[in-house]
Symmetry: C2
Subunit: 417 residues, 2 copies
């Protein structure tokens, strides 16, 4: 079933358009960039994008693996029945107006067709491996090993745009919508097996089948890290969830306890979700004892404050002083990485008069390759460190300018405290 969603040979888009800023236009343009056989359906047009436009999916001769429906609510159920008649293998319903606004009967009818179903009320899905953007997200992100599963389409759009200038990438992206058919637990199980995915990042508002979700989390978190941003924690937030996707946010303490028991990692913001996804897409989790190297006393004090507050074991920061050259970083870093009881090193550097950012970056890359322990870096500045950050991140060593942000990542990186 997932084969036909993430790797269909033939796709029909029902509701295709070429009018600017329309959902049916966005999806059509995105689909046509893939190498799939695309069939556009719109009864009011003869041609779209120099291709034949079909009146109905039933007019298409070829078999259709995936039907994408992006038409007004009132026509969806009828068209879905035509998809059934056409024997499509899977269906993504983009259209909204279903259970999230109280139209439960119509959503049940969609589900009862028995076709594997994504949505309704969703953005679609993306697979970078085969350049398939079956959504109205503006463009495919960079290829990578992070899968993103989200109950908010807007957050997917934002993350894709944020990630454009970052050094990490995605395997597959799923907008869940109302989950009338395939639900979050099904996607987690699938992504657990997916060899292109090493980290699963989730934006969650609430789940309908708690037990199934918990079982999927528990099973898959043994194979690869699952990182969850759960929203709808406040009273007002919960009521906002209800009108957003029609799901119940539920008791947050129960969710947090369940995540913990299932060994999923709960983060607190979109930034943390991305920071940790980046880090875990490049590095494995580690035990608790972190070395610190800095060229600024103040940085060391701040780092120690934050780490101690998170119950992370550290040695007193090694302050190389303001005039530290790359060579001094190399000696201190190698000394720490060599030690059996140091599992991770946090390297900080500010732009001082003698500082050698690129050389330091190269030293870090070299020693990372030699010792294979997680190294987290804070180059604390702007343009001064641009090229140094590029050097380390291209070599899968994460940089966070803000010390607190780096410590947040280290906090999650450590699997026992």
């Amino acid at each position: 079933m997932f084969k036909h969603i993430f790797n269909p040979k033939t796709i029909a888009l029902i509701g295709a358009s070429n009018k600017p800023k329309k959902v049916g236009t966005g999806i059509a343009e995105n689909l046509l960039k893939s190498k799939k056989d695309i069939y556009l359906v719109n009864p009011n047009r003869r041609k779209l994008f120099n291709k034949k436009s079909y009146s109905s999916i039933l007019d298409i001769k070829e078999d259709i693996d995936l039907a994408i429906i992006a038409i007004p609510f009132k026509f969806v159920n009828k068209v879905a029945e035509e998809c059934k008649a056409k024997k499509v293998k899977a269906m993504i319903v983009i259209s909204s107006g279903f259970s999230e606004v109280g139209n439960i009967k119509e959503e049940e009818a969609l589900k009862s067709l028995g076709i594997p179903l994504v949505g309704p009320n969703c953005l679609g899905i993306l697979n970078t491996k085969n350049n398939l953007n079956a959504s109205f997200a503006p463009y495919l992100p960079k290829k990578g090993n992070i899968a993103l599963v989200s109950q908010s389409g807007a957050i997917i759009d934002s993350i894709i745009d944020i990630a454009k200038n970052e050094n990490y990438g995605f395997s597959k992206i799923v907008s869940l919508g109302n989950e009338a058919g395939i639900d979050i637990a099904d996607f987690i199980e699938y992504l657990g097996e997916d060899k292109d995915t090493d980290v699963i990042a989730i934006y969650l508002e609430g789940v309908k089948n708690g037990r199934k979700f918990f079982n999927a989390l528990s099973k898959v978190s043994k194979i690869k890290p699952i990182i969850i941003l759960k929203s709808g924690k406040s009273e007002l937030g919960k009521s906002a969830v209800l009108t957003h996707t029609g799901s119940l946010a539920g008791d947050n303490k129960i969710y947090s306890a369940a995540f913990k028991q299932a060994k999923a990692i709960e983060v607190k913001s979109i930034e943390e979700l991305l920071d940790l996804s980046k880090t875990l897409s490049w590095d494995k989790r580690c035990k608790n004892n972190v070395g610190i190297i800095t060229n600024g006393g103040g940085f060391g004090v701040l780092a120690t404050d934050f780490l101690e507050k998170e119950n992370i074991k550290t040695l007193k920061p090694i302050d190389l002083m303001g005039d530290a050259l790359a060579r001094k970083y190399e000696q201190a870093l190698e000394d720490l990485l060599k030690r059996k009881n140091i599992y991770c090193v946090y390297v900080l550097q500010g732009p001082q008069i003698m500082t050698e950012p690129e050389k330091t970056a190269k030293v870090i890359v070299k020693l990372k390759k030699k010792y294979q322990k997680p190294i987290i870096v804070s180059f604390i500045g702007g343009d001064f460190f641009k090229s140094a950050i590029h050097i380390i991140e291209k070599n899968k060593i994460p940089n966070f300018r803000e010390i607190k942000r780096a410590v947040n990542v280290i906090k999650y990186l450590i699997y026992e405290k």
Copy 2:
């Protein structure tokens, strides 16, 4: 006394050099970019930067307002006595090696000369108003109304480099060093009166004269906001402070209570220090009740979660839906700004298919001018919002991509909870 530090007519640099990456070279280059009369002192050179190099400050005929000493520790006291004989009006001692490593007698001797003294063991001072960079910080930041006072020189360097690509600016920057002469309380009092400064941002590790500091904070916080990042909170952090500037970090609870009583604002990270300085350099603090507008349900849920956790009063977020044009933002924003019991509006926007970022930015600028209430914006994306962010920030409306970061600022912006 401060006149001779921040606006001297004549400056002597003792320890001037032209060798690359030397402190004496950095300061000389920085000073020569100002329009002041600069005298370079180095007994081993006849000329430096095509200027006469003096053997001693005593060889200079003209009166010297400010002497800057950047020579090895063992020569400092002798040279400082020459400065006394020369009747310099003020002195900045860059050199380290004093009380921070136990040489207390030598520091006392410096102090006992009775010349207004910044340092020792500091980076120097900067005044953007007259383009004076009397420090070895690499360059002057943009002009603005934020004063930065720091017990870490490295943090000053980092902040200048970070701020380079930002839209806020600085009036004066002070590296305190060991505070043998002029101390943090003196600078706070001075900056309280300084008409170029509207916000005072402080990085603090510990103070020597608690009562004087508290009195200065209490007095000046009535005139303009004082934002403090206090480090050295953890046990290890405290011991790191001791070796950094030789000061005692002290009991953190006492500091926090004192800040609160003195109505200074305590923040938790460098990022927060800058985020809030930016915001308060553009806007006044306000009462507690925040309106929320979004084009993504998920954003609204997250915003509400964070705001409620910080005890900030909000209405249920107004979800304009994914297809919201700028016109819709305009109506909703004006409706909220009009209301007497709404004191601040938080506007969120993600990059959706119909989204009009620049138009929305212009609408926000227009309504900000009309209603004069604080508006905080989260354009949640990357390049999609680049120009929109430029439009609002050039008009002094702050943007924070991460919702949690924006809420942190709103938390501090509200003066009663």
